[in-house]
């Protein structure tokens, strides 16, 4: 993982394939159009923040990236490959479940409600995917899981069940679980929204540490402080479209669009 990352940082910026590329992405639930043409690009190694009011489609867009939601229009690429489809000539073929699962291996996801597996201990949660999906042997997987728990500061909680952990601890285990698959891209869906204010800091520290290690991250968040400090790009979404984008410091301190201004005046 580390040599892959350092390689990424060495390559010149102009001809790299974007990690995520969206072109006119549309998504509807029934008659409700949630995404009305999203265009954006996430560069490798970048921390990309998505902000906006609830119902603006930012979480839906995030879920489209690893095909938890099917898009209805436009094109979505991860690391240069179409998400959920294969193009042959001018025809699109839906991918089989097995092929979709293959692609998801490389994309880690952290959920608002943690979604740890409650019938497994912290370390078993982290080991599960490497053992079941990649076929790593249990001893190696456990060793690696312990290293990851150490990294998120929870090595001493390895034998605890999720119900015995605080929300902040659960979310850190969830981050370790996603990292266990050595993803090239990490998706965060409001990772701190379900936490007590006191516990938010620990989770953000882990994410900051991850960003410093060069991980490509797409973060849906309401933590403007985090976005400003750690983010490399920021997009403000509303009503299923991208309203404004740029460097977080510029957008947050000097918003150009009226809608962005009114949103930020309420949350800052």
């Amino acid at each position: 993982m580390t040599d892959k990352l350092s390689k990424k940082q060495d390559t010149p910026a102009q001809d790299v394939v974007p990690m995520v590329k969206a072109q006119g992405v549309h998504k509807s639930f029934g008659h409700v159009e949630v995404l009305k043409g999203i265009d954006l690009e996430v560069k490798p190694g970048e921390v990309f923040c998505l902000i906006g009011p609830s119902g603006s489609g930012k979480s839906t867009f995030l879920r489209c990236i690893n095909h938890l939601e099917k898009i209805n229009g436009g094109r979505l690429y991860v690391d240069g490959e179409l998400v959920g489809y294969r193009q042959q000539g001018d025809k699109l073929y839906e991918l089989r479940d097995r092929e979709v699962a293959m692609k998801r291996r490389d994309i880690g996801m952290v959920f608002q409600r943690f979604n740890l597996f409650p019938h497994m201990t912290a370390v078993e949660n982290v080991m599960e995917a490497p053992v079941q999906v990649k076929g790593v042997n249990r001893t190696q997987a456990r060793e690696r899981a312990m290293q990851l728990l150490e990294r998120v500061g929870l090595a001493d909680r390895a034998g605890h069940y999720p119900s015995q952990l605080s929300g902040g601890q659960q979310q850190r285990v969830a981050i370790a679980r996603a990292l266990a698959m050595d993803p090239k891209l990490m998706l965060f869906d409001e990772p701190t929204s379900a936490l007590d204010p006191e516990l938010v800091g620990d989770v953000l520290d882990v994410m900051r540490d991850l960003a410093e290690s060069g991980m490509t991250m797409v973060v849906v968040t309401h933590e403007m402080g985090f976005a400003r400090e750690v983010g490399d790009s920021l997009v403000f979404m509303d009503g299923g479209v991208v309203v404004e984008s740029g460097h977080p410091r510029d957008v947050l301190t000097n918003p150009q669009h009226e809608r962005t201004q009114s949103f930020l005046s309420k949350v800052l």
């Binding site: 699962a101 998801r104 291996r105 119900s163 698959m181």
Partner: protein, 310 residues
């Protein structure tokens, strides 16, 4: 274990700081009265039975009779095998019912509709008499026989009970699968797990917590329902008790004997059920509920410490 000791310790030493309240508790006279009335009724019923024209001495004579023990064995065998058919069939039907394919889900729906909608006694008799429809059973070179020779009382009983049970187990399994939070499936998929692995490793273990308690009830129910198959000439516990009753001239006594054995068997099953539920509850609550043995020990320690403090 540790928390039991802790509570015992808390009760044993009076709290420091402000003095503990000493008050005369409210007397619940109504409770004393109702207890006395209930006990009196119980004594009256027991007395009535002991004075009835029932030869209680006949029960111990036949309690471990070879025929009774053999019948009990058959009852247990039938319970285990028909529950096995029921559980496997139930899981298959539940998955069919939840599948996106309209044909398989409709077939499962129809099966459940039919087998839940008709009494199991009627189903048993129909299986037994299906020779009117199929005179021969012909599986090509593998097996060929007349229906009446093929459909032995045991097979009738097994199919009748098992297929009926599958319909009930299907609904129990379906409820269990639906009770697992969708976020669990999403998390597993996001990690790259396939549908099958997600079902096997993530969804089913959690669904078990919902499925096991009603399944335990089904097992106990099945044990009792096996008595119905006496109508298709299968000599399980109840049938044996009836036969002995007719030859020995103590028919009612043998019914009591059967009832006692059924009670013993269901009690043993209930204990097993408790421990299985406890196993599947791991991770769902912060500490597992104590086993009955641990509860008894906890009560004993609190009692002794209460005496010491008084």
């Amino acid at each position: 274990m540790t928390d039991i000791k802790k509570t015992a310790g808390e009760q044993g030493t009076p709290p420091a700081g402000p003095e503990a309240i000493k008050a005369i508790p409210v007397r619940h006279y109504g409770r004393y009265v109702s207890a006395v009335v209930a006990l009196a009724l119980l004594v009256a019923i027991v007395y009535a039975f002991s004075q009835g024209r029932i030869n209680w001495g006949a029960i111990p004579d036949y309690f471990f009779d070879d025929r009774v023990v053999e019948g009990m064995g058959k009852t247990l065998l039938l319970t285990v095998l028909s529950m096995a058919i029921g559980i496997v069939g139930g899981i298959v039907l539940a998955v069919m019912r939840l599948s996106k394919n309209p044909v398989t889900s409709s077939i499962a729906w129809f099966y459940i509709w039919f087998f839940r909608g008709t009494p199991v006694l009627v189903q048993l008799v129909v299986w037994f008499n299906l020779g009117l429809v199929f005179e021969y059973i012909n599986l090509g070179p593998v097996y060929k026989d007349e229906w009446s020779d093929f459909m032995t009382p045991f097979l009738t009983a097994l199919l009748g009970l098992g297929l009926n049970e599958a319909a009930y187990m299907a609904e129990i399994c379906r409820a269990g699968l639906l009770a697992v939070d969708e976020g669990q499936t999403e998390a597993a998929h996001a990690l790259g797990m396939s549908h099958g692995k997600t079902l096997r490793r993530i969804v089913i273990p959690q669904a078990m917590r919902v499925i096991v308690p009603p399944t335990g009830n089904e097992v106990i129910n099945m044990l009792k329902t096996t008595s119905l198959v006496s109508v298709v000439q299968f000599s399980e516990l109840f049938r044996v008790a009836q036969d002995i009753g007719q030859t020995s001239g103590a028919p009612v006594e043998m019914y009591f004997l059967a009832a006692t054995w059924y009670l013993i068997l269901t009690s043993v099953l209930s204990v097993g059920q408790y421990y299985i539920e406890r196993y599947y509850a791991r991770g769902s609550s912060r500490s597992l509920p104590p086993t009955p043995w641990q509860k008894i020990r906890a009560h004993l320690t609190t009692l002794s410490s209460r005496k010491v403090s008084a």
